[in-house]
Symmetry: C2
Subunit: 147 residues, 2 copies
């Protein structure tokens, strides 16, 4: 009986903590979507811009955004239409690099500033709480040899 209660408590704790982590992440993503929208961008475009600190092959962007190369073509098209990126040739002539224009770089900077201003972790935690949180998140992300 006691054993069963312990198992139930464990199930409850697992569910509760996981659900909280997911809720917080969803909220963070919603905040980011709002920030992107305030700059006239969809999330995927804003994410692409945030990744283009330095010019990158479209294939690399596909990997970073975890989507297909064919989908990056459309993303690059939209960003180029808005004058936020340029396609520049790579040394390997199959490759095209995406490079932020000046306007694109300005958008990237505004994105980063807005995230810093509005991120939940900044608004709702003290410096000390953030310092406590970080190693816990690192432990959760550590990729051990576990199953």
């Amino acid at each position: 009986m006691i054993v069963h209660m312990a198992r139930t408590a464990r199930m409850k704790e697992a569910h509760q903590l996981s659900a909280m982590m997911i809720d917080i992440a969803e909220q963070s993503k919603a905040d980011f979507a709002e920030i992107a929208a305030s700059l006239g961008l969809h999330v995927i475009l804003a994410r692409a811009i945030a990744l283009l600190d330095t010019p990158a092959p479209m294939r690399d962007l596909a990997e970073s955004l975890a989507c297909d190369r064919s989908y990056i073509t459309g993303i690059a098209d939209q960003l180029e239409e808005r004058g936020l990126v340029e396609r520049i040739p790579g040394t390997d002539r199959r490759v095209k690099l995406l490079q932020l224009t000046d306007e694109g770089a300005a958008v990237r900077d505004r994105l980063a500033e807005s995230v810093a201003d509005r991120a939940l972790v900044m608004r709702r935690l003290t410096n000390e709480q953030r310092a406590n949180l970080k190693p816990l998140l690192e432990a959760l992300l550590k990729d051990p040899q576990d199953s």
Copy 2:
């Protein structure tokens, strides 16, 4: 100059912590998707089952799953086809309640057990670390009068 560096450090910290939270949540969702798949279920169906601890009107499920009532019809159809839920009439005769069958309740229990066994928070954190994490997550989820 120092001011600018502080701003940059803050932007970096905001981005880093937010990205970690999102990564962890994505991983947790992927784990849940795997568990669901091992029971032959898509995520949305598994989530519905997990919510049906007690019979609930389809409208309530729509709210809990944050989707439209029309979409719940399809979810209920699939669960019913698999013999995991039954539609039972409510006292208000417009309402149909979804109730887990015995097999559905067994699936619900297996889901909860698998989550407890495999959740990142359980596998990668000690009891003490979980105890430290919880109040931080609560602070992040607290809904204050902030903008």
